[in-house]
């Protein structure tokens, strides 16, 4: 592949106290690439993607996002957070603000867009996730699926070049999972670079360019979906797949 590298992690290590949560992570993500990360609970999936926008700090190795290395320099962190959108398992919408204000807040205060423009942009993305009719409600008045779509719209309003998803459907009732996955598929088709932690293997098969299996802080397997499901190399991957499929 000749295309531009968006994220490069080289020999990244992280510890929580004694616990070695990330153990020698090497990962290269090209522009437009969709990567699905799976693995047992506690294997370090969240920590890995949270290191990319510095919600967690890595202690060794190097993370470069769009040519900017993540260091303790606040400017590099701010720059990268501007390029990277994140969607959380628990939505984390701002409950004291309407959906519209949730979406226009960062464009106004971080991107310094005029208020009107930020609101137009917010409406555009709310329309894309099909909840523009809920724009003036508060998060607590929406269903889980609607909240998560609002959270995706909120992230998109910053027009990020990379989107991180940390188990975006795990907190949802089964009947709402599809509406959120559909939005994510749409986003993938639009060419967004995506890192998705999920156990939705249907989604992985449909959109992933690469599936990564993590265990005990290491990347155990990293393959395209066909190979990943048909001939996994590691025993741990096989066991995991047998449990969730």
């Amino acid at each position: 592949m000749t295309s531009e590298t968006m994220i490069e992690m080289s020999s990244v290590h992280k510890w929580f106290g004694e616990l070695h949560v990330l153990n020698d992570i090497n990962l290269k993500v090209a522009k437009g690439e969709k990567i699905v990360i799976c693995g047992p609970s506690g294997s370090g999936k969240s920590t890995l993607i949270r290191c990319i926008n510095r919600l967690e700090e890595h202690q060794r190795g190097e993370i470069v996002v769009e040519g900017t290395e993540l260091t303790n320099d606040n400017r590099s962190v701010e720059k990268i957070r501007g390029e990277v959108g994140m969607v959380f398992q628990q939505f984390n919408l701002f409950p004291h603000l309407s959906i519209l204000d949730n979406c226009s807040l960062a464009p106004i205060w971080v991107r310094k867009l005029p208020k009107i423009e930020a609101r137009e942009k917010a409406m555009k993305y709310l329309k894309r996730v099909q909840i523009d009719d809920q724009a003036h409600k508060y998060p607590a008045q929406l269903s889980g699926g609607q909240q998560q779509r609002a959270a995706i719209a909120r992230a998109l309003c910053m027009e990020p070049r990379i989107m991180l998803f940390d188990e975006p459907t795990s907190a949802l009732d089964p009947e709402m999972i599809k509406e959120v996955l559909d939005v994510m598929v749409g986003l993938a088709e639009g060419g967004m670079t995506m890192l998705v932690v999920t156990h939705e293997m249907g989604f992985a098969k449909e959109v992933a360019d690469k599936i990564i299996f993590m265990d005990e802080g290491q990347i155990v397997e990293s393959k395209n979906p066909t190979d990943f499901f048909s001939n996994p190399e590691s025993e741990r991957t096989k066991t995991f797949l047998s449990q969730i499929l």
Binding site: L55, L93, H96, L105, P139
Partner: protein, 357 residues
């Protein structure tokens, strides 16, 4: 389906309410009856004293011949009680402030009016600045020394300054205490704990008597300003802990979502964290303000005559000896009106800011 069915009479209306709340069990019934008996013992004589047997008209103590309260005492001294010794020719300055304050508060209390934000900002920032010039002089106004300030006017100045300044300082202290920078956190903690560990009386004594000892010769800080600073930091330390409680109630996800969106620390605090955590602790914040309002009466011990102080003072006037009951009842009523008003406002604010989470 039967749509028009109504609940049984027993469960609704006055009777239903009485049954449910006052006579639900035999011991509830006994408590209700005992309560009613005490009300019967206390309320009628009190009402007679305050209203029915009281004297409202007249100019001196000889006019008070009935067995009830002598409100003439309050009426004749009302200027002292409201303005202290503020010069008669300059009272209009205090009146303007009373007027602006009343109008702004009424405006804020009327539901659904526009521009309440601006009125709030006026009340919290511009109005106090206007008051500084109005009360003490400057800009062509004659200087009025603070030792002449007194009565309700002084109480409102102390409480107002305390309320307006202690909240922002308290918020900064709370943020400081939770800071990741050890020095900031340690200093904030020490500051908070020192002020919280000392009674307000001691603070006022120190401000009044000890503070001058530390000052270079000739530097003379106004006594009222010293008391104000003491009250302000004292209240700020308490508010800091209240606000910190609200901050601790914030889920981690709110911080993470703000950071992921690229907000800097101060924007995150100002736009996301503080609005939510302050909302949670509104009742406790107003509770602190009410305590502060009542604590202003302690300035009497450093020789400032606040509302209660001046009422006590006029009670010692030989012309009016023996009317302290009227004074205290009046003072208690006015204090109660202010504090109850704040408490109700807190409830309304809570309801209004509720977004269902």
């Amino acid at each position: 389906m039967n749509k028009n069915i109504t609940p049984p009479v027993i469960e609704i209306g006055v009777i239903g309410w009485l049954r449910k709340n006052l006579f639900s069990t035999w011991y509830n019934t006994i408590l209700t009856l005992i309560g009613l008996y005490f009300i019967y013992l206390i309320i009628p004589p009190l009402l007679s004293w305050i209203f029915f047997d009281a004297t409202f008209s007249g100019t001196n103590r000889e006019d008070c011949t009935s067995s009830g309260a002598c409100w003439v005492f309050i009426k004749q001294n009302i200027k002292l009680i409201i303005y202290g010794l503020y010069p008669s020719d300059e009272l209009w300055r205090v009146n303007i402030a009373y007027f602006l304050l009343t109008v702004s508060i009424i405006y804020l209390l009327i539901p659904n009016l526009k521009y309440k934000g601006f009125v709030g900002i006026f009340l919290l920032i511009i109005f106090p600045i206007i008051c500084v010039f109005l009360f003490s002089g400057g800009l062509g106004l004659e200087n009025v020394e603070t030792r002449l300030w007194g009565g309700l006017f002084l109480t409102l100045v102390i409480a107002g300054v305390g309320i307006v300044l202690s909240l922002p300082i308290g918020i900064m202290l709370a943020l400081g205490r939770r800071s990741k920078l050890p020095v900031v956190s340690l200093l904030s903690t020490i500051f908070i704990e020192i002020w919280r560990g000392v009674p307000l009386i001691t603070v006022l004594f120190m401000a009044s008597n000890m503070f001058p000892l530390f000052m270079p010769e000739g530097v003379n800080f106004d006594k009222l300003i010293r008391a104000l600073i003491g009250v302000m930091f004292f209240s700020a330390a308490y508010l800091a802990e209240v606000v910190r409680g609200g901050l601790q109630a914030m889920p981690k996800g709110q911080y993470e979502a703000s950071q992921a969106a690229g907000l800097t620390y101060w924007k995150m605090m100002a736009l996301i964290i503080l609005p939510q955590s302050l909302k949670i602790v509104i009742p406790a914040i107003i509770g602190s303000f009410i305590a502060l309002f009542k604590d202003t009466t302690l300035v009497l011990i450093i020789g400032l005559f606040d509302f209660l102080g001046i009422i006590q003072f006029v009670g010692t006037n030989p012309d009016w000896l023996g009317f302290s009951h009227e004074g205290y009842v009046f003072a208690a009523t006015i204090f109660w009106v202010f504090c109850f008003g704040m408490s109700r406002y807190s409830q309304r604010l809570e309801k209004k800011l509720d977004t269902g989470n």
